[in-house]
């Protein structure tokens, strides 16, 4: 069996062992198995990527068996590794390994530890299947698998109702996107008669009927297919209008937020669009929609992040906003910049979440920013690591975030499917990013300490060195990740017909883009002065209507509640007594009436039985005689 085919097997094996032995495994054994399997997978993928980059071939494939066949099209269980999936498996297994290491220590005292690690391993399996799949059906299998694991892990602490509700919400909302995606797959199969990804990208360029607008339709098949795939991506990647599940998903344990809801799963939508670039390139309109969706999401999420009180929710909105950047890049046709940002974002956002997790652990699970303050002196290591993560997030020059975000912003102005207005969106988003990052840092680490109890001393947490080791590696990756140039441009197709580009890039673009984060920092240095200065003034969260509106995710939950959930529940309530139900209930009533009548006769009285017996005997004789 080839190395590529065995890649998802390590976590799968670990998952099976953990699931079948469950609580009988001690902490040490369970964590050795799960973290060890991840280390094996990470080494394996590094080896594979090395093999890919040194050999002449651009693609490694591994065929295992045929799953099923539809007509002439065969759907195989087979893996396909090119530069794009190489980046993804490195992120999934590399960052995944570090997060597993962190999680093993973070979750040590949990009674369901092995269940937690088993779900994490299962998630990695599904994610690897997703990124390595060579056809869309296998990709969909992985896609649903990560959705399931996300559901299981958000609701991991299932004894609290809010966690379960958050899990359900995430599951249902992503399901909406997944349904769109499934329809998109059917449409692609109908018009291109293939489900193999490489074939589809080729056929989309060459099949004329795919892009041709037929007689009585307003749009071509390519338009609809791309739009439906975008629907799937929007659900998974928490973009407008299906973004409401991501902040609530923070109910899960912090390593989950780092692994699933920041580094890997939520970027699956970005991966999908990048993977299907051949289809998207055929419809510049949809590319334009992708760019606008990304642009609007990054602004809205940035505004919402400004008003959050919970440290993890700030990071959740920030994730949403950064994925907005990736979408913007994809929409602008800057595929490799988008994937590059995906990679660097995985590094620094995992670092931010895990450091936040370490801070939360030290603060006895306090997540409210307004109850932190002054942690720079008490937790200097965590504060430094957090600062590194934030520097990458706001794209200070030299950090990894800088390279990837600048690459995105630079491509926007002159792109035929984006343009200056989206460039301004991105700049405004960068400004918002630096402001909410500063607010977060000031509130948590500077100013007067507002935490009444004493912190959990760091040497109290066992294996603290290992915990910090994982964080240090991530910090290193975040700082230096930008030096790795990810050039995937040979992988992606370019526009078929050159669309006239009317925008000349002015010379001040780069200067503005680089200066924006500093403007944000200077602005917040003065604007959030009371957060960072130690004074007797009490720091409290603003309760003004607008701030509360932003804190609640800009009213999307309320809007969907009023528009969709309430009418749906109303119709469901009405429908409880519809005609079919009534017909069915008629049978039940009929049976019930007879039951009542007959059970009256069985009253247990002997005299009654004797009388009935005698009378019916008389009746019988009468019938026979007459």
């Amino acid at each position: 069996m080839s190395l590529l085919a065995s890649l998802p097997l390590y976590p799968l094996l670990s998952f099976l062992i953990l699931v079948s032995y469950g609580k009988r495994l001690s902490w040490g054994v369970a964590s050795w198995i799960s973290v060890g399997s991840m280390a094996a997978a990470a080494l394996c993928s590094i080896f594979l990527v090395n093999q890919l980059s040194t050999s002449d071939t651009t693609v490694i494939t591994a065929y295992m068996w045929q799953w099923f066949s539809v007509g002439s099209a065969k759907v195989n269980i087979s893996f396909y590794l090119d530069a794009l999936s190489a980046v993804m498996i490195l992120v999934v297994t590399g960052v995944g390994f570090l997060i597993h290491l962190f999680a093993a220590i973070y979750m040590k005292s949990d009674e369901n530890f092995s269940r937690f690690m088993a779900y994490m391993n299962l998630f990695i399996v599904a994610m690897l299947v997703l990124v390595l799949a060579d056809n869309l059906v296998l990709l969909y299998l992985g896609w649903e698998g990560v959705g399931l694991c996300s559901f299981l892990l958000i609701g991991f602490w299932y004894k609290e109702k809010s966690n379960v509700l958050a899990a359900r919400k995430a599951f249902i909302i992503t399901r909406i996107g997944d349904t769109a995606m499934a329809i998109g797959l059917f449409l692609l199969f109908k018009s291109l008669a293939s489900l193999n990804i490489a074939d589809i990208n080729q056929l989309a360029q060459t099949t004329e009927s795919f892009t041709l607008i037929s007689m009585n339709a307003t749009h071509s098949d390519a338009y609809w297919a791309a739009l439906l795939l975008l629907g799937g991506a929007v659900g998974k990647s928490a973009q407008l209008p299906l973004q409401t599940w991501l902040p609530d998903a923070m109910a899960g344990p912090t390593p989950i937020s780092a692994l699933i809801h920041a580094a890997t799963m939520v970027t699956a939508g970005v991966y999908l669009i990048a993977r299907m670039n051949g289809v998207f390139l055929m419809t510049p309109e949809v590319m334009n929609y992708v760019a606008w969706l990304g642009g609007i999401t990054l602004l809205l999420a940035g505004v919402a992040a400004l008003a959050q009180n919970d440290i993890k929710r700030v990071l959740a909105y920030s994730t949403m906003s950064q994925i907005g950047y990736m979408m913007l890049a994809l929409g602008a046709g800057a595929w490799s910049a988008g994937v590059f940002h995906l990679m660097t974002h995985a590094f620094f956002k995992a670092l931010l979440f895990l450091t936040a997790g370490a801070v939360i652990l030290a603060l006895h699970h306090q997540q409210d920013l307004f109850k932190m303050g002054g942690l720079l002196k008490k937790l200097p290591v965590e504060a430094t690591l957090f600062l590194i993560g934030l520097a990458c997030l706001i794209a200070l020059p030299g950090t990894s975030g800088f390279f990837s975000k600048e690459a995105i912003i630079a491509s926007l102005w002159s792109s035929p499917t984006a343009g200056p207005s989206l460039w301004w969106c991105a700049i405004l988003g960068a400004l918002l990013t630096s402001i909410y990052s500063c607010r977060l840092f000031f509130l948590a680490f500077l100013g007067k300490s507002r935490f009444p109890e004493t912190l959990v001393p760091s040497d109290h947490i066992e294996n603290n060195k290992l915990l910090r080791g994982a964080l240090f590696i991530l910090a290193l990756l975040s700082l230096l990740g930008g030096l790795v140039t990810v050039d995937l441009s040979s992988l992606f197709l370019s526009y078929k017909q050159s669309i006239a580009n009317s925008y000349e890039s002015p010379s001040w673009l780069h200067v503005t883009a680089i200066a924006t984060p500093f403007v944000g920092i200077i602005f917040s240095w003065f604007y959030y002065k009371n957060y960072r200065v130690i004074s007797d003034e009490s720091v409290v969260a603003s309760q003004s209507t607008f701030v509360v509106f932003c804190r609640n995710g800009l009213g999307f939950d309320t809007l969907y509640g009023a528009l969709l959930i309430k009418p749906y529940c109303f119709v469901a309530r009405l429908n409880r007594k519809d005609l079919f139900d009534q017909t069915l209930m008629l049978t039940a009533w009929y049976v019930r009436i007879w039951r009542d009548v007959l059970s009256v006769s069985q009253n247990g009285s002997l005299r009654w039985f004797a009388a009935a017996f005698g009378l019916s005997m008389v009746g019988l004789i009468c019938v026979v005689i007459l």
Binding site: G604, S605, A610, G614
Partner: protein, 102 residues
Amino acid sequence: MTEIPLTHILILSSLLFIIGFVGVVVRRNTLFMLMSLEVMLNAVGVAFIGAGSVWQEADGQIMFILILTLAAAEVAVGLALLIRMQRRYRTLDIDVLNQMKG
């Protein structure tokens, strides 16, 4: 000896049977129900004897002896049950024993 017509015998027998049956249904005391049962059995016996004498056959009398034996056995079991009932429920009211409802 004047012949008694069969119809008279059968009328007597059925009258006795009906009285016995009504007794079983109407009386609540189990002892009286048992006695009414005896009346019913004897009504059948009268019918057998009468028929036997009309047709000059011994079968009717043999049948009556069988019924008598059966009645004796039945009363033995019945009275034993009555004693158990009295011990357990302190009453002979048959309506108390109505737990076996549908």
